[in-house]
Amino acid sequence: MAALSEFLSMGGHAGFIWPAYGVALVVLFVLVAVSLRTLRANEIAVREIEATRPKRRRRAPEAERDDA
């Protein structure tokens, strides 16, 4: 317990060291969360629009092939 509190006190500089790591963690976490959310929103939006419109023609659709 004493070892833990000594570790956490960082030689009296806990107030500078832990916030430094905390800020880095929060900034990177928020960036990742926002990036993943935007990705998911874009994926859903593209899928919705593509679902409402007729399928684009394939290059060689089976039904239209004469030699089939």
């Binding site: 500078f16 060291i17 430094a20 990177l28 993943l36 990705l39 593209v46 629009i49």
Partner: protein, 251 residues
């Protein structure tokens, strides 16, 4: 050039990125975990700075990333302007917010390190001010890229800003040698051997590699997102065209 253009195809890029992304993500987590463990448990306190030297393991790698990401962004912008590479502006726009975040981390952790060591949170000296300018360059790039109705014009204007702003990168690097500044000179990337003990150098390099892998993984996610956003814009435009065309056709 032909080998470069093979990756220019967005579909192929997305296939490769889907295979690479999980590796980058897990390797980033592993190296950062190992780096943090060594930073806190195996590396010694500094004989002058005491425990505050541990801020170095997050401050210095994020400073390197801030410069590295900007350099990569400026190169992408150049490729976009000169060769009209189809992925170049996408890459730069996906990278800019990541670089801005690393710059913020660098500035804040630097401030938290400066207070106990220099006795001040902030000083308008060459190194600190030029890094602040780098942050504003990132913000300017992001704002300019989104400021035009025509996205193609926006990304061109922003790319020119990024290229002009690139002069700031060597200024940051050499600011500690050209001017008197509170900031210490480079101790790792310098002529001759790094002047830092292995017990500190290894966690520092681990963190740097971890941050780079993290950057690549996040960049791939953001590039995919940006490609989808562009596709969405194109789909919506063609939707408007169809909606606008049908009444004109009947009337």
């Amino acid at each position: 050039m032909s080998s470069l253009h093979r990756f220019a195809n967005p579909a192929r890029f997305l296939r490769i990125s889907a295979a690479v992304l999980p590796w980058c993500g897990w390797l980033a987590a592993l190296t950062i975990a190992a780096g943090l463990y060594m930073a806190f448990f195996t590396s010694p306190a500094d004989y002058q700075q005491g425990e505050t030297v541990r801020i170095m393991y997050v401050h210095v790698p994020s400073a390197w990333m801030a410069l590295f990401v900007y350099t990569m962004m400026a190169m992408s912008c150049a490729a976009g302007l000169i060769w009209k590479h189809p992925l170049a502006h996408v890459l730069a726009q996906a990278a800019a917010p990541i670089g801005a975040c690393f710059t913020v981390i660098c500035l804040i952790t630097g401030s938290l390190w400066g207070k106990p060591m220099w006795g001040t949170w902030w000083e308008w000296d060459a190194r600190l001010t030029s890094v602040l300018v780098l942050f504003f360059l990132y913000l300017g790039y992001i704002a300019l890229a989104g400021a035009f109705d025509n996205p193609a014009r926006g990304e061109r204007a922003a790319a020119i800003l990024a290229l002009v702003g690139f002069v700031n990168v060597p200024i940051i690097k050499f600011s500690v040698e050209w001017w008197n500044t509170l900031h210490q000179p480079a101790s790792v990337i310098r002529a001759g051997m790094p002047s830092i003990h292995l017990s500190m150098l290894i966690p520092l390099l681990l963190m740097a590699v971890g941050f780079t892998l993290f950057f690549v993984a996040l960049l791939l996610v953001r590039v995919k997102s940006e490609l989808l956003a562009r596709r969405l814009r194109a789909l919506r435009l063609s939707e408007i065209h169809r909606a606008g065309a049908s009444p004109a056709g009947t009337g």
